[in-house]
């Protein structure tokens, strides 16, 4: 298509006499071609001059000012969306950290026997009842880890190898899984802090290995026996 034909099309498009499909293509070409754009503007100018419209309007850069105003008008609308995303992420991270911290605290209290009455009772129930049920099923003092796996098959864990034992361990495992599953909403620093808290709590509880749990199972049985 020669240049004259394009300019003829431009004139027809200006009058709304070009088929829509051609308008689409030509208007994209105008975006790239400053000469066509200037010509479009002069077509508007000569029509305005013929109709005695205020042709000097454009001298103040009217179209440019509208374009700049639109750009400025649209920019602030995007910013809050960005801030909102950051804010929501921070809020989600804070909530995850708060839930995790509370759970760790409750686990520690339960293990050390220093929690509130209700908290200790609830967690002790979780820890003791499965061990008792395991003893009934196996009819002998089985390691708590094996019994718990039979009774409460744990969901696939992201971070904890199979074989970790104890109700508290399962809760911690679930907690750790929760933290990892929701890691998209927290920062690495927050995750590290929460996981460090978990490890610290394990040390404080002194139930980090199956051997420790097995060694303590007799004591657990005697505790449950005495509670009957």
């Amino acid at each position: 298509m020669n240049e004259n034909e394009v300019e003829s099309q431009l004139s027809a498009m200006f009058d709304g006499e070009l088929p829509a499909a051609e308008c689409e293509l030509l208007s994209r070409r105008i975006d790239r071609d400053e000469n066509l754009r200037s010509r479009w503007s002069r077509y508007a100018l000569m029509g305005a001059a013929m109709r005695s419209e205020p042709v000097a309007t454009a001298r103040s850069g009217f179209a440019l000012r509208v374009s700049a105003a639109l750009a400025a008008d649209l920019a602030p609308k995007r910013a809050p969306r960005g801030r909102s995303l950051v804010w929501n992420t921070a809020l989600a991270a804070t909530l995850v950290a708060a839930v995790a911290g509370l759970s760790v605290s409750m686990l520690r209290d339960a293990a050390l026997g220093t929690g509130t009455q209700n908290g200790v009772g609830a967690l002790a129930g979780v820890a003791v009842a499965p061990a008792r049920a395991a003893a009934v099923l196996t009819n002998e003092p089985a390691p708590a880890a094996v019994a718990l796996e039979v009774l409460n098959p744990a969901p696939p864990s992201y971070v904890t190898p199979a074989g970790s034992a104890g109700a508290a361990t399962i809760l911690r495992t679930q907690l750790a899984d929760y933290i990892v599953a929701h890691s998209a909403y927290s920062t690495p620093l927050l995750r590290r802090n929460v996981l460090s808290e978990l490890i610290t709590s394990e040390d404080a509880m002194g139930i980090v290995s199956p051997h420790t749990i097995a060694a303590g199972s007799d004591a657990t049985r005697s505790t449950s026996g005495s509670s009957r």
């Binding site: 208007s27 000569m46 001059a49």
Partner: protein, 202 residues
Amino acid sequence: MGPDASDLSLVQRVQRGERSAYDLLVLKYQHKVVKLVMRYLRDPADAEDVAQEAFIKAYRALPQFRGDSAFYTWLYRIAINTAKNALAARDRNPVSYELDMHNGDDSTDMVSRLKDPETPEGLALTEEIRNTVNFAIDALPEDLRTAIVLRELEGLSYEEIALSMDCPVGTVRSRIFRAREAIDRRLREVFDGGLGRAEELV
């Protein structure tokens, strides 16, 4: 094919998020909208501000434009409402308007003067452009002059012009294009003739 076919095409591009298409609509209708607003606000600088606001409002409302009416009809309605609102706001705040008019701020006054098409410079430029266009039209062959006048002054479609001039639509399209080319050559001579200020128009 209606006179709004190309406008609708541009509108659809804007609705798809291509803002550059809206620039062409602004370039096409800026003179008409400013003239329309000046019926309500006599001050040309105020009229330009209100016209600018009208274009911005129209842009924001474009996602809701369904093409039930022609784009320019819809745009004019927005411009008239914006002008009426501006007039009402001015009536509610006559004191601040007076202060704005007499605050003696030279920089504001200069901006206003530069924007004002009715300053001596603006009027001279307007006159120069009108004369150039009129001389160019007078110099056109009869068939080209008739075609461009029927189109620009009477607002007839190509089909209506073809009926009026008893020729094919393709011929009308060609005549209007050739008329515009002839006028455009004269305009560019004005722009290139050392009148740098005229270049700012396009």
